[in-house]
């Protein structure tokens, strides 16, 4: 354990590193690339929706003949894009960015640890994630293309899909393995490697959010693992776990034995996928809480109620999964139960959001770029959450289910919600990770245009959905009832392309700030949590001296203190 400190080669330092910070950055860059790729898939879909049957500009000529016909999209390719957009964004974009990147980089720093509890396991998690991602991507090159049965892969449709679905299942097993190993690592790290004096109720809210998220990953993902194994058996070994008796596909009876249950897949899938929703949102809430506390120069209002709400959210998220299934005919008794739990689970989310809003009260707020993103998160996540309530009750859900309203609802939670929180995190911790500031002007351009276009994309979807337009339509213009909403579709599409342009300042900022921007000192935001006690950027092993914690995480503007912040790691109050 105590070999001489040798200079590491390039491969060991940047590719096969066991340093949590390097792994965090690896996760971050890979996830941003996947997010961009998933976004590109969606931009192609938006062309087909706005201008059906017309050749796709720029890329239409580059795609193979199984994907486009004279540059215009084919229906099967549209289905692949839809399924893979969801899969990539959720499992290869947001989760690796929120947990893999921010969790890895920030959690050990915030708890004062030299690294994760299992550094080599950490590297294995990242590698499994990359393998799973590559398996997903190469499935586009298969003769039948990638998976095309929606990101939910509902049976029996998925059982009869092309071999892209088998790759989806295989890729998913790798992604699940990655998340499981990562989750175990986070739990042990947070419980065991906290610095002296860092009791649980002195943990920053972000660490709490990662702890709960890790438990969700460890306990929810195995259900999808089981489901993926069963579906793989259905596809490869000819079993009928998800195929009912007497199944007729395309007018002819299916040769399978039957006796299975299509609903079983949905139960297993949503048993994962509902806690997964909280995996997507909780780290975002954690980041926003950190950024708000720093920039309001006030303690978070209601830190303890927020933590208890977080724990309750995590616990109850295992009991609401079937609110995705009201329309399946599972019965009113089941629906009643899940309506009640769904209404209850909205309470802790509202508590957390309310605490964050009240934290702004009476503060002299600073408005750097991360704070803009964090502040935008609050109403955006609020809209996403509130529009979910009608979906959580079976009666209104009968009208809204599988419509664009649903798409608008959950994208408000995840896109201007979580992704804005992720951007807040990038701008907030960038000076620590790179040693340089990020350009404020470019950041503001990035924020305002992203904010505008995000709403331009998702707000029209709500109205389209209420007008009765279904999701997953290949060509909305052939339906009379959808005609009236076509103007909104075109608006959404142009907003999506505008959102892509709005990311250009971010990309420029990313590369410019790495080399040209002014250097950051150790604690540029004058924050109180432990990650700002390290040198900038933190070396391998993180802390020069083992830190000791003397107080809670958000002691800003303490009366009588010399400065307006009293760091956790400084003995005398400021």
């Amino acid at each position: 354990m105590s070999e001489a400190h040798a200079e590491l080669g390039f491969l060991r330092k940047y590719v096969f590193s066991t340093d949590h910070k390097v792994i965090g950055i690896q996760y971050g860059i890979t996830a941003l690339v996947f997010l961009f790729f998933g976004f590109c898939l969606m931009m192609m879909m938006r062309w087909q929706l706005a201008y059906p049957g017309e050749p796709i500009p720029l890329v239409g000529g580059l795609l193979g003949e199984t994907m486009v016909d004279r540059g215009a999209m084919l229906p099967n390719f549209y289905n692949q894009l839809g399924a893979m957009h969801g899969t990539i964004m959720v499992f290869m974009g947001i989760v690796p960015l929120a947990v893999g990147a921010f969790g890895n980089y920030v959690v050990p720093l915030q708890i004062g640890a030299p690294d994760m509890a299992f550094p080599r396991l950490n590297m294995a998690s990242y590698q499994a994630f990359v393998v799973g991602g590559v398996v997903m991507l190469v499935s586009f090159l298969l003769p039948g293309g990638a998976a095309s049965s929606g990101w939910t892969s509902y049976a029996p449709l998925a059982v009869f899909a092309t071999s892209g679905q088998t790759f989806w299942l295989l890729g998913m097993l790798f992604l699940i393995a990655s998340s499981l190993l990562g989750g175990i690592n986070f739990i042990v790290t947070i419980i065991h490697l906290r610095a002296d004096g860092l009791t649980f109720f002195r943990l920053p809210f972000f660490v709490w959010s990662q702890l709960v998220t890790a438990f969700l990953l460890v306990l929810a993902f195995p259900a999808l693992q089981a489901a993926a194994i069963l579906q793989a058996m259905d596809r490869l070994a000819g079993t009928s776990f998800f195929l009912p008796s007497g199944l007729v596909v395309g007018g002819s009876a299916v040769a399978a034995a039957g006796g299975g249950s299509p609903l079983l897949w949905q139960h297993l899938f949503w048993f994962l996928a509902h806690p997964e929703v909280y995996v997507l949102i909780l780290p975002g809430m954690g980041i926003v809480a950190e950024v708000i506390a720093v920039n309001t120069r006030k303690p978070l209002w209601g830190y303890k109620p927020m933590v208890y709400s977080l724990l309750f959210l995590g616990f109850l998220s295992f009991g609401v999964w079937a609110h995705h299934m009201y329309m399946t005919g599972m019965g009113t008794t089941m629906s009643t139960f899940f309506q009640i739990t769904t209404m209850i689970i909205s309470i802790p989310s509202v508590i957390i959001l309310t605490c964050l809003v009240i934290s702004l009260w009476g503060a002299s707020i600073r408005f750097p770029v991360p704070m803009l993103f964090a502040l935008a998160f609050l109403p955006m996540f609020g809209i996403g959450g509130l529009t979910g309530l009608p979906l959580g009750l079976a009666a209104p859900d009968a009208f809204l289910h599988d419509s664009y309203y649903v798409i608008g609802h959950f994208h408000y939670v995840v896109a201007p919600g979580t992704i804005f929180a992720m951007f807040a995190g990038i701008y907030h911790w960038w000076p620590k990770a790179t040693g340089r500031h990020m350009n404020e002007t470019l950041g503001r351009i990035h924020f305002w245009f992203s904010f505008l276009f995000m709403n331009g994309i998702f707000m029209p979807m709500m109205f389209e959905g209420m007008a009765g337009v279904s999701r997953r339509l290949f060509d909305p213009t052939i339906y009379t009832h959808a005609e009236a909403a076509h103007g909104l579709t075109i608006m959404t599409s142009w907003s999506a392309w505008g959102l892509a342009l709005a990311q250009i300042p971010f990309v420029i900022n990313f590369f410019w700030s790495m080399r040209k921007e002014e250097r950051a000192e150790e604690n540029p935001w004058q924050a109180t949590t432990l990650e700002w006690a390290t040198p900038t950027p933190p070396p391998h092993g993180n802390f020069v001296e083992t830190p000791v914690v003397y107080r809670g995480p958000y002691e800003y503007s303490v009366p009588g203190a010399e400065r307006d912040f009293s760091p956790q790691f400084v003995k005398q109050g400021g």
Binding site: M1, S2, E3, A4, H5, L8, R12, S17, T18, D19, A113, P114, D115, A117, F118, P119, L121, L180, G183, I184, N185, I187, V188, I191, H192, L193, V218, L219, A220, F221, P222, A223, Q225, A226, A227, I229, L230, M233, A237, G238, T239, S240, F241, P244, S245, A256, A257, G258, G259, G260, S261, L264, H267, L268, F271, H540, G541
Partner: protein, 211 residues
């Protein structure tokens, strides 16, 4: 290795949890394994009683060999005993006894797989595959689909345990000389996993063979 950094609680117990990081990690891993097999057992229940299946063969009716299954159960329970003995021998500083008992665990685990292999091949020779099943049943495939999936996944777990124990047996002696406490910890962790896999079989055997 990569550096001079020292990660605490690899060999000593954390005051709050009373265990090392590795042991806490394996317990959390086993929790996720419980969720995996729990999801599969739940699927079994739902497929058996929730699909309106008119006929569901018991293991005996389906042609599973209960005596052989019983023998395999005994083999696995014995291997759990030898696993504990190997750890206890290590604690009592009897390295030769440790090697004997760990070797016995590996041998019994392998024997379990061999017996399982004979059971599988007997089914295959009767043209019973996951998809074909009990020939006279109206609702034939789900029982054998579950049988092969559940026992197959369990066998993979056994195989993993055998390989890990083999690695510890062959390369472990090195660690025993340099970092004794950590090596004891690894044997204990491997043992916890082994007992879990054993326990899964204790549930699988009656569910598939007897019910």
């Amino acid at each position: 290795m990569s550096s001079t950094i020292v990660i605490p609680y690899q060999a000593e117990a954390h005051p709050l949890t009373g265990v090392t990081s590795g042991k806490l990690g394996i317990w959390i891993f086993l929790a996720s394994e419980i969720m995996l097999f729990g999801a599969l057992f739940s699927s079994y229940v739902l497929l058996r009683v929730g699909t309106g299946a008119e006929y569901w063969p018991s293991g005996v009716e389906a042609g599973l060999n209960v005596p052989i299954g019983t023998v395999n159960t005994l083999i696995l329970i014995t291997s759990s005993v030898t696993m504990v003995m190997s750890w206890a021998s290590l604690k009592m500083d009897k390295f030769a006894a440790f090697k004997f008992y760990l070797g016995a665990t590996i041998g019994l685990g392998s024997l379990f797989l061999v017996v399982k292999g004979f059971e599988y091949s007997a089914k295959f020779s009767h043209h019973i595959y996951p998809a074909v099943g009990w020939p006279e049943a109206t609702d034939p495939s789900t029982f054998f689909g579950l049988y092969f999936t559940l026992t197959g996944l369990h066998a993979l777990h056994i195989l993993l345990g055998v390989l890990v124990n083999l690695w510890l047996l062959v390369y472990g002696a090195e660690l025993w000389k340099t970092e004794r406490v950590r090596f004891e910890g690894r044997i204990e962790i491997s043992g916890l996993y082994w007992h879990f896999v054993d326990l899964v079989w204790i549930f699988l055997f009656p569910v598939l063979y007897l019910l």
